[in-house]
Structure formats: structure tokens, C-alpha cells
């Protein structure tokens, strides 16, 4: 690009020289365009390659001349329990993380004194920066052990609820523990998104509410929440997307098994990402297609969740700070 520019000025007048950059302009704008095209191509390839590689597992009779896939009769039988486990773990994480995350976001935006709010923001970012494998290791060695007495208590007192039925785990490596680790991991994501939106609440609305004699909580309920509702929902959805795809925390914490509603028993449930991470390194042939197909399902689920989140944001763009 620079060569075309430096080569041109040799000949002729100042007018011509200014025209000389035109080639540079072309090259530069086309490179920029090409980069955009590459991004679209990559995404298209993600979809195409995943589909091609998973076809043998999706329709074994047609694409691989086999009657069934390696680990079950049909792909549905194989993937549905995994999907159930994935969704279950993510929902536990959401239920635990959302109230706390919204609370911290409010704390930073409306409750904490300015001197504390900024460092707290940093701390939350710090929480987001810790690698997932470290969270997994922490969940596996520290959290799982400390959850064991809680499981015993839950089983004894709330055992009639299907979630807390079954033998309480003695290692603590259950779906509920994974859910707690996931909750810790998505907490900073939801918090920072909510905080951004809470801060954007029009100051005049807030001051008007306070001037009418509202207490701080009434002010928040009357001005901040209506303004931020769409933003809160979409940030929770984005957190859900992250929880669905999170691999290491679940892989390290959970001792996997068949799908079950019991959250406190070891050797039950598995999630799609952990299934892939555990088995892919040794898989080949049909098994590999199966796992890639499971990954495709995961891709579709997270895609739908993320799209819903974006759609909510774009729908409320005009009258909220959610964009």
C-alpha cells in the first residue's frame, strides 16, 4: 500500500501527486472489506463444517451405512439427556447468579460511595478474568468438599423434592456443585452488563422521583428498573449463553452419568461441553461425528439464546439504555 503511494509522487505536479493516493485508497478499503467478508465466511464455515462432520451421526443410515450410532440407537437418544443436563446446570447457575448480579450492579451504580464503587468494578472484572480451568479446579477440590454437608442437609430436610432426592453425594461432585461454579463464572458477565445499563438511567428521572419524596428503593423501582428491564433480561440471556457453553468448570467438577433430576447425587447427568471435552481427545470415526453433532446442537442452542437476547435489546433500543 505504501509502495504505491511513494512510487507515484515522482512524476509530475502537485495535483497529480494527490491523485496518486487513489490506489492506496482502493487497496485499503478493499482490504477492510475483505476482512469483513472473512468474518462472514468463517461463521459460514463454522456452520458448514460442523454440519458436514456431524452428518454421519445425524443420519447414520444415509451417510455412514450403519444402523445406529456408537453410543445409542438414535442420535436423539444420545443427545437429549445431555441437553437436559446442560440446560439444568445452566438454569441452576442463572437462578443463583441473577439476583446477586443485579444486586451488585445496583450496589455499584446506586448504593456504594464513589470511592468504593470503582474498585468494586475492578474486582468484578478480576472475577471475569480468572481462567475457567482454575474455577474448575477450585470447584473440584474446595467447593465440592464443602458442599457435602449441605447436600446431606438438603436430602434430610427437602428430600421430598425430586431435585434433592437420591443418595446425597459423599464427594460433592454433582450437578448442583457445577451449577454453583457456573453461577460464580457468569456473575461478573451479568453484573457488568447490568451496571452499564443502570448507570445510563436518566438522572432527571431519578431526581424527579426523589423530589417527589420517594425513598431510594422506590426511586430504583420506579425509574431504574423500568428503564433497564430489557437490558437486564438480555444480560441474563447472555449469561445463560455463556453458562450453556462453559466446559471446564463442569468437566472438572461433575462426575458424569445418566440424566436424572436429582442434583445432589454423584455419577448423574452430563452436559454437552463436558461430554465433548471428556471423550473427544480419544474419539475417532463414528464417535467423533457423534461428539461434533452434539457440539452442533450446543451451537444451535446458544445461538438461539443469544439471538433472543439481541432481539430483546433491539426491540427496546429506542426507549431504553439497553443498546
Amino acid at each position: 500500500m505504501t509502495q504505491t503511494a511513494s512510487a507515484e509522487p515522482k512524476k509530475g505536479s502537485a495535483l497529480k501527486r494527490s491523485r496518486g493516493g487513489a490506489a492506496g485508497d482502493k487497496v485499503f478499503s478493499n482490504t477492510a472489506l475483505a476482512a469483513g467478508v472473512i468474518i462472514l465466511l468463517v461463521l459460514a464455515f463454522v456452520a458448514i463444517f460442523l454440519v458436514t462432520e456431524s452428518l454421519p451421526a445425524l443420519w447414520p443410515q444415509v451417510f455412514s451405512n450403519q444402523d445406529s450410532i456408537a453410543s445409542a440407537d438414535t442420535f436423539g437418544q444420545y443427545v437429549l439427556p445431555l441437553m437436559g443436563g446442560t440446560v439444568l446446570a445452566s438454569i441452576i447457575a442463572l437462578i443463583l447468579a441473577t439476583p446477586v448480579a443485579v444486586g451488585i450492579a445496583l450496589y455499584i451504580s446506586h448504593y456504594a460511595p464513589r470511592k468504593i464503587a470503582t474498585p468494586v468494578g475492578y474486582v468484578i472484572d478480576l472475577l471475569a478474568a480468572i481462567p475457567s480451568v482454575v474455577y474448575g479446579a477450585w470447584g473440584m477440590t474446595f467447593l465440592a468438599a464443602s458442599m457435602v454437608p449441605i447436600y446431606g442437609w438438603l436430602h434430610n430436610n427437602l428430600g421430598f423434592i425430586p431435585f434433592f432426592a437420591g443418595d446425597p453425594s459423599t464427594t460433592g461432585r454433582t450437578l448442583l456443585t457445577s451449577g454453583v461454579v457456573l453461577a460464580v463464572m457468569i456473575l461478573p458477565i451479568i453484573t457488568s452488563l447490568c451496571r452499564e445499563i443502570f448507570i445510563q438511567t436518566p438522572k432527571l428521572h431519578e431526581e424527579a422521583a426523589l423530589a417527589l419524596g420517594a425513598t431510594r428503593w422506590e426511586m430504583i423501582r420506579m425509574t431504574v428498573f423500568p428503564f433497564a428491564r430489557a437490558g437486564i433480561i438480555s444480560s441474563v440471556m447472555l449469561g445463560l449463553g455463556r453458562a450453556l457453553g462453559e466446559t471446564m468448570a463442569v468437566t472438572l467438577v461433575l462426575s458424569p452419568g445418566v440424566f436424572s433430576l436429582s442434583l445432589i447425587t454423584s455419577g448423574r447427568n452430563a452436559t454437552i461441553p463436558s461430554e465433548i471435552a471428556l471423550n473427544f481427545p480419544e474419539a475417532f470415526g463414528m464417535r467423533q461425528s457423534e461428539l461434533i453433532a452434539a457440539g452442533l446442537m450446543l451451537f444451535i442452542i446458544t445461538l438461539v439464546v443469544n439471538m433472543i437476547a439481541r432481539w430483546i435489546v433491539s426491540r427496546h433500543k429506542e426507549f431504553s439504555g439497553a443498546n
Binding site: 503511494a5 493516493g21 487513489a22 485508497d25 487497496v27 485499503f28 477492510a32 472489506l33 475483505a34 476482512a35 469483513g36 472473512i38 468474518i39 468463517v42 461463521l43 464455515f45 463454522v46 463444517f49 460442523l50 458436514t52 462432520e53 439476583p99 446477586v100 444486586g103 451488585i104 450496589y107 448504593y111 468494586v120 472484572d125 478480576l126 472475577l127 478474568a129 480468572i130 481462567p131 475457567s132 480451568v133 482454575v134 479446579a137 477450585w138 473440584m140 460464580v184 425513598t215 431510594r216 428503593w217 422506590e218 447472555l238 455463556r242 450453556l244 457453553g245 462453559e246 466446559t247 468437566t251 461441553p273 465433548i276 473427544f280 481427545p281 475417532f284 461434533i292 446458544t302 443469544n306
Partner: protein, 390 residues
């Protein structure tokens, strides 16, 4: 905490005096009294319920009792609106304290487990797992032999894979965001890019790994061959770097786009007015102005992918020794090393040495990621142009 009233320490006289401004308010020391009450009650209840004293139960019960008691006291002394306000204030503070717990716990665990090992065996940083067998780990446990092995290969793998990923994604991400901000006129194409970059942000990291694996496998089977040796070639550093690029590009695009948009238009117009070409304006005016923001965004993206485990796990295989070649042979990255040492200890019967190595590696990984984050912050603050729009 101080009342504006002319200091009436006794609540009864204060209520009796009926100062128009502070009438019906609870005295300033209420929260201390309630806290003491909650502490005592929680201590008693914990002792009765668990037959002894345990810290977590005590702290949790104190918090619960305090919040409830404050609500009731305010309800009685003041009114329901104030009580609700106070209740939510306490709950929001509670949420903040609850969130601190896992952070402190994670850092405490990693430092507590990793630091002693790392200090006792600093050579871990410059040896790999070559020659470390189950037998040597057994010897460490049974006979107290020195801890062998380290994670140099993980460090080198992480650096190499991340460097290649950065080389792939920064130019693409940078140029794409330049296209979005400077060239597109809000047409369908730029909308599509923005939308699909959003979609890419949401790709689960393991799916990115599967994609890279599938792509490279398809490429190799089509152009090189389908034998087992060729299939073996699929797992290499480059495949992992491609997977990480898929995760990194959207982050780079988003942060760069944001930074380019806050460059004031006056700067561009001034440059055009002087007759400077658009591409030179971008290179000489826009990019230097936004450089600090872009650099910090890229650093954050690097920090993010350095900690990724899943995509590398499925694409780069697992090696026990140093491999500098990104284009052939299996490679180990630091997060994968941690995972493997924890899940498949070198000596299954004596997992302790493996766990020690894993925690030491985890400490190093956290330090690397934190330092990268710190650098990003310093770049953003120290080199920020005077006018960034905020």
C-alpha cells in the same frame, strides 16, 4: 451515621421531643444494637443446632437475623416504606459481600496450594514432563524424593498458540472494524457483519475447537490424504490457534470498533480539509488517536484466550515435552496441562504430585492473565488521548 439532630443519645427523649425533621426516625445507633443482637442470637442458634460452633453457619445466620431484625425495627419505629428501603439496601450490600466470597476463596485456594510448591520447586518453570513417570511420582510420595517435572512445555505452548492466534485475528479484526466505522454506510452488509460478530461472541469455546478441528481435518483429508498418519497431523498448534482466533476476532472487532467510534469527527474532517487521502487519514490520524484503546482491547482479548482450555484440549492433543513447532506435532498449553494433571495424574495411585504441579501451574496462569489485564488497564489509562469522548 450522624444525625443532624442536636445529638439526643436517648431514643425515648428523642421521640418525645418530636423535632419536626427527625421525628419518627430510628436513632443512629440502632444498627449497632441490632448487629450485636443478631450476633448473640446467631451464636446461640448455631450452638444449639450443630451442637458446637461453626463459622459459616454463624456468619450466615448473623446476616439473616440482622436483615430481618433491621426490617422489623424500622417497621415499628418508622414506617413500611422506610423499612422496605432499608431491607433492599441491606440485601444489595449482602449481594456484594456474597460475591466477594468466591473470589477470595478461589484466590486463597490457588495461592495457598500453588505458592508453596512453586517456591519449593522453582525449577518447575524451566523443565517439562519429559522423563517423569508414574514411578518417580510414587517415589515422591513414598520416599520423599524431590518433586519432578514442570510446565515449561505448557508455557511455550500457550505462548506459541496465543501468538499465532493473535497474528491471525488482530489484522482481520482491525480491518473489519475499520470497514465498519470508516467505510460502510450502514448498509445491509455492515449490519450483517455487526450481527454475525455478535453471534460469534456467543460461540461456545468448545464449539470453536470442534470447528477448527473439523476444518483442518477436512482440509487435510481433501488435499493431503486420509491415512492414519495424516489424521494424526490434524492435531497441532495451528489448529488450536485457528480455534482461538474464532474466539478472539469478535472481541477485537467489538473493542476496536468502539474505540474508532469515539475518535472525534473533527479530527477526520481537519485531515480531509488538508487534502489528505482517506486511507492516510485513517493510518495517520484515526488509528494513532485510538491506539491506546485498541492496544488495551487486544491485550484483553489475548488475556481471554490465554485462559481458554476446551478449544486447545480438542485441537492440540497432549504432549509431555517441549514442542516449538506450531505446524506439526502435539502441543500442550498451560490450561490443558492443569486439566490433564488434575484429571489423569501421572501416577494414578499417587495423585498428589500431579495435583501440586497443577496448582503451581494454575498460579502461574492466573498471574499471567492478571498481568495482561493490568497491562491493558495501564495502556488504556497512560496512553489515552486527552479527549476520548467520555
Amino acid at each position: 451515621m450522624k444525625t443532624t439532630d442536636t445529638a439526643a443519645p436517648d431514643p425515648r427523649t428523642q421521640v418525645k421531643k418530636k423535632n419536626a425533621l427527625t421525628a419518627g426516625q430510628k436513632p443512629a445507633w440502632t444498627w449497632i444494637a441490632v448487629l450485636v443482637g443478631a450476633l448473640v442470637l446467631a451464636g446461640v442458634v448455631t450452638a444449639v443446632l450443630s451442637g458446637g460452633f461453626n463459622w459459616p453457619g454463624f456468619v450466615i445466620l448473623t446476616g439473616v437475623f440482622y436483615v430481618i431484625a433491621m426490617y422489623i425495627v424500622t417497621l415499628v419505629v418508622e414506617n413500611r416504606r422506610r423499612a422496605t428501603d432499608g431491607l433492599w439496601k441491606n440485601l444489595v450490600w449482602g449481594a456484594f459481600l456474597v460475591a466477594l466470597l468466591p473470589l477470595i476463596s478461589v484466590i486463597w485456594t490457588v495461592v495457598g496450594q500453588g505458592l508453596p510448591t512453586l517456591l519449593a520447586n522453582p525449577n518447575m518453570l524451566w523443565v517439562d514432563m519429559g522423563g517423569v513417570t508414574g514411578a518417580s511420582d510414587q517415589a515422591t510420595v513414598n520416599e520423599g524424593a524431590p518433586l519432578m517435572g514442570g510446565f515449561l512445555h505448557g508455557l511455550i505452548g500457550s505462548v506459541a498458540i496465543t501468538a499465532i492466534a493473535t497474528l491471525i485475528s488482530v489484522p482481520i479484526g482491525l480491518m473489519a472494524s475499520i470497514y465498519l466505522v470508516e467505510y460502510s454506510r450502514g448498509g445491509w452488509f455492515s449490519k450483517a457483519i455487526t450481527f454475525f460478530v455478535d453471534v460469534m461472541t456467543g460461540i461456545p469455546s468448545i464449539v470453536a475447537g470442534l470447528f477448527a478441528f473439523a476444518a483442518v481435518q477436512l482440509f487435510i483429508t481433501t488435499f493431503i490424504g486420509e491415512g492414519p498418519a495424516q489424521l494424526q497431523m490434524v492435531k497441532m498448534g495451528l489448529t488450536a490457534a485457528i480455534a482461538l482466533s474464532v474466539l478472539m476476532i469478535p472481541v477485537v472487532v467489538r473493542s476496536t470498533e468502539e474505540m474508532l467510534r469515539v475518535v472525534p469527527n473533527e479530527l477526520r474532517e481537519a485531515s480531509y480539509a488538508l487534502g489528505v487521502r482517506k486511507w492516510r487519514t485513517i493510518l495517520k490520524v484515526v488509528l494513532p488517536t485510538a491506539m491506546s484503546g485498541i492496544a488495551s482491547g487486544v491485550t484483553l482479548a489475548i488475556a481471554r484466550v490465554t485462559g481458554e482450555t476446551a478449544p486447545i484440549l480438542v485441537t492440540a492433543g497432549f504432549a509431555a515435552t517441549v514442542n516449538w513447532n506450531v505446524f506439526s506435532g502435539w502441543m500442550t498449553a498451560l490450561p490443558v496441562y492443569i486439566y490433564r494433571q488434575l484429571v489423569n495424574p501421572t501416577a494414578p495411585a499417587a495423585a498428589e504430585p500431579s495435583a501440586l504441579r497443577a496448582w503451581a501451574a494454575a498460579l502461574v496462569l492466573i498471574i499471567i492473565v492478571m498481568v495482561l489485564n493490568l497491562i491493558a488497564r495501564i495502556i488504556a489509562q497512560a496512553f489515552a488521548p486527552k479527549k476520548t469522548g467520555r
